[in-house]
């Protein structure tokens, strides 16, 4: 029974993990930028949701669209005004510039919001219900539903809609896409904006299930990395599998081996996946 409960918690946690990693995987796959500031955007999203909740008394789940909009504008602007300037630099440089962004954003957050721990704490925060003898925490379940819904939505968007197809076209062959009349500057900015918007939503949900402060970014970036690698960069559904895989693996390690070994497990899995199948568990081998 304990095992079943841990597995359930792992799957619910995994949904949130998947949403965290989705933006990173999208930006990485399309723009070939490993965005080290991704966790900082998650952190900012958490704060936006937090202030919408405390100052405007908006339910955190209803605040998510606004959070997404704010973060989308931020990401769109950054890609348009800054990252597009270095997009053709060697890989190191895009890595470095996003690291610089992470430092700057963390500093700004620390100045504006102070280093205090905060939680988004609606009155239904601790609520749960029983299902077949298992305890299902409601907030985690809702976060899981939002996360999977957004993943499927993103998948459909990339496959069916016109801007989604433009994004895939640009990622497959930039020159050919330009020859078809696609303006890459706008598509790149759109992609990065989508990535940060997803990070923002993930941040809002993260704030309702866990504590936030300005420094959570770096470790969340690392987690997102692991999930993106396990799931592969090809499609958003792989990221869901990666998230659930990591969530359950972490909780199972904490249960059977010890809570201090969760990092060993998650990064050990990362290294193994990289060595055995670098395109991700569900990735195509080219």
């Amino acid at each position: 029974m304990l095992l079943a409960q841990v597995l359930l918690n792992g799957v619910l946690l995994g949904g949130l993990y998947a949403l965290m990693a989705m933006g990173l995987a999208l930006v990485w796959g399309v723009l070939n930028i490993v965005n080290l500031a991704h966790g900082a955007f998650i952190m900012l999203g958490a704060y936006v949701t937090y202030f919408l909740f405390t100052k405007a008394h908006l339910d955190p789940f209803l605040a998510l669209p606004f959070t997404a909009l704010v973060l989308f504008c931020l990401g769109y602007g950054l890609q348009r005004g800054l990252l597009n300037l270095v997009i053709r630099s060697p890989m190191f440089n895009t890595l470095l510039i996003t690291f610089g962004l992470e430092v700057v954003l963390t500093f700004l957050a620390q100045t504006a919001f102070s280093a205090d721990f905060r939680t988004i704490n609606p009155d239904y925060a601790g609520a749960n219900f029983e299902l077949a003898g298992l305890t299902v925490p409601q907030v985690q379940l809702a976060a899981f539903v939002v996360a999977t819904g957004l993943s499927i939505g993103l998948w459909a968007f990339l496959l069916r809609s016109r801007p989604g197809r433009s994004i895939r076209a640009v990622s497959q062959n930039l020159l050919a896409a330009q020859l078809q009349g696609i303006e890459p500057r706008r598509i790149y900015a759109l992609t990065f904006g989508l990535g940060t918007a997803l990070a923002g939503v993930a941040g809002g949900l993260y704030g309702t299930v866990s504590q936030i402060n300005p420094y959570i970014g770096a470790s969340l970036t690392a987690k997102s990395f692991v999930i993106a690698i396990i799931g592969g960069l090809d499609n958003p559904l792989g990221v869901i599998v990666g998230g659930i895989f990591l969530g359950t693996a972490e909780l199972l390690t904490a249960l059977y081996i010890g809570p201090t070994y969760t990092e060993v497990a998650s990064f050990g899995i990362l290294v193994l996946v990289l060595l055995v199948k670098p395109t991700g568990l569900l990735g195509r081998t080219t």
Partner: protein, 317 residues
């Protein structure tokens, strides 16, 4: 910048000056010097695998940490002298580079970077569970209050690292590494044994980095997993090397000197904004001078201020 005559000139003027610092400067300058020299050594160590070979390791902090724990375990647990500890750390780091390098150096680009980052996390977590390494609590080393000794040790190590890189820039081995960086398949086709070269470069990088870790551990007299295997150290050494100019002999040293100086001055004058400025410098440097200080110095006389605009024009979408 890499022309031998100029390097000899810089060395003849610079080295005696650097050696004399503890007798001219104040204790604060010496302490800053120790940190700066060790950071420069780390940047130079990274330069071998990242700058010359083109494999962006995010796992060099592991070598730093293993060097520190070599000294820590030998001195705190077995009452051995410092030198024995350095040797133990060196052995651990080089051995680790060999064992890990075999599978990991098969990966390329982002994948290599992330696999090494993952390894860094794994090793941190493993070490914080090993009793002989003091688990989470860490180890306390015997105190040796001699900043002059540590300064000269750090300086000696930096000189050694720079000499190694200087040798790389002129030797058959180093040219092989550059060939791997530029085009690995072509290098293999020209008869470079890429696997052996890459692993040797990784081990060389590990050796220098672990010595810096060992000196630092004895200097600060305390090590714990979070401090010794600090992941941000990876990012710092990469920034310093890339800021100065990766794949050059003096670039990483100049980058480390300049950035350490900037962040030191800022954190003493305006504590709060130092972090912000560090990030802003990195962003500006990537946009305006993506090939590092050494390229800026080489090109600036010819092109002047247009150098910065040209860089933006070359790399924007």
């Amino acid at each position: 910048m890499t022309s031998p005559a100029r390097i000899v000139l810089i060395a003849l003027v610079g080295v005696p000056l650097l050696v004399a610092v503890p007798w001219i400067g104040t204790p604060v300058v010496v302490q800053f010097g120790i940190n700066m020299l060790l950071m420069a050594t780390l940047a130079q160590g990274w330069n071998i695998i990242g700058g010359y070979t083109g494999y962006s390791s995010f796992g060099n902090s592991v070598f730093f940490g293993l060097g520190a724990y070599g000294v820590g375990i030998a001195m705190a647990q077995f009452d051995q002298p410092f030198w024995a500890g350095l040797g133990l750390g060196l052995l651990l780091a080089v051995g680790f580079a060999l064992v890990i390098g075999l599978p990991v150096l098969r990966l390329k680009g982002h994948y290599f970077a992330i696999a090494t980052l993952g390894l860094a996390e794994v090793v941190t977590a493993i070490v914080s569970n090993i009793p002989i390494a003091g688990q989470n609590v860490g180890l306390v080393l015997p105190l040796l209050k001699s900043d002059v000794l540590f300064y000269e040790l750090a300086l000696g190590l930096l000189l050694l690292s720079t000499l190694v890189v200087f040798w790389l820039s002129r030797s058959r081995f180093g040219l092989g590494l550059i060939a791997i960086r530029e085009n690995e398949e072509a290098a293999a086709a020209m008869g470079v044994c890429t696997t052996r070269y890459k692993i040797l470069a990784f081990m060389l990088s590990a050796a220098l980095t672990s010595l810096a870790g060992g000196i630092n551990a004895y200097y600060i007299t305390f090590i714990d997993p979070a401090g010794a295997f600090d992941i941000t150290l990876n990012v710092k050494m990469i920034i310093m090397a890339v800021f100065g100019g990766p794949g050059t002999v003096l670039g990483p040293v100049a980058g480390a000197l300049l950035l350490s100086l900037v962040s030191e001055i800022l954190s003493s004058k305006v504590t709060n904004i130092a972090g912000f400025f560090f990030g802003a410098v990195i962003i500006a440097a990537v946009v305006l001078m993506p090939r590092g200080l050494s390229d800026l110095i080489r090109q600036f006389r010819g092109t002047g201020w247009r150098y910065f605009l040209q860089n933006i024009r070359d790399h924007r979408l």
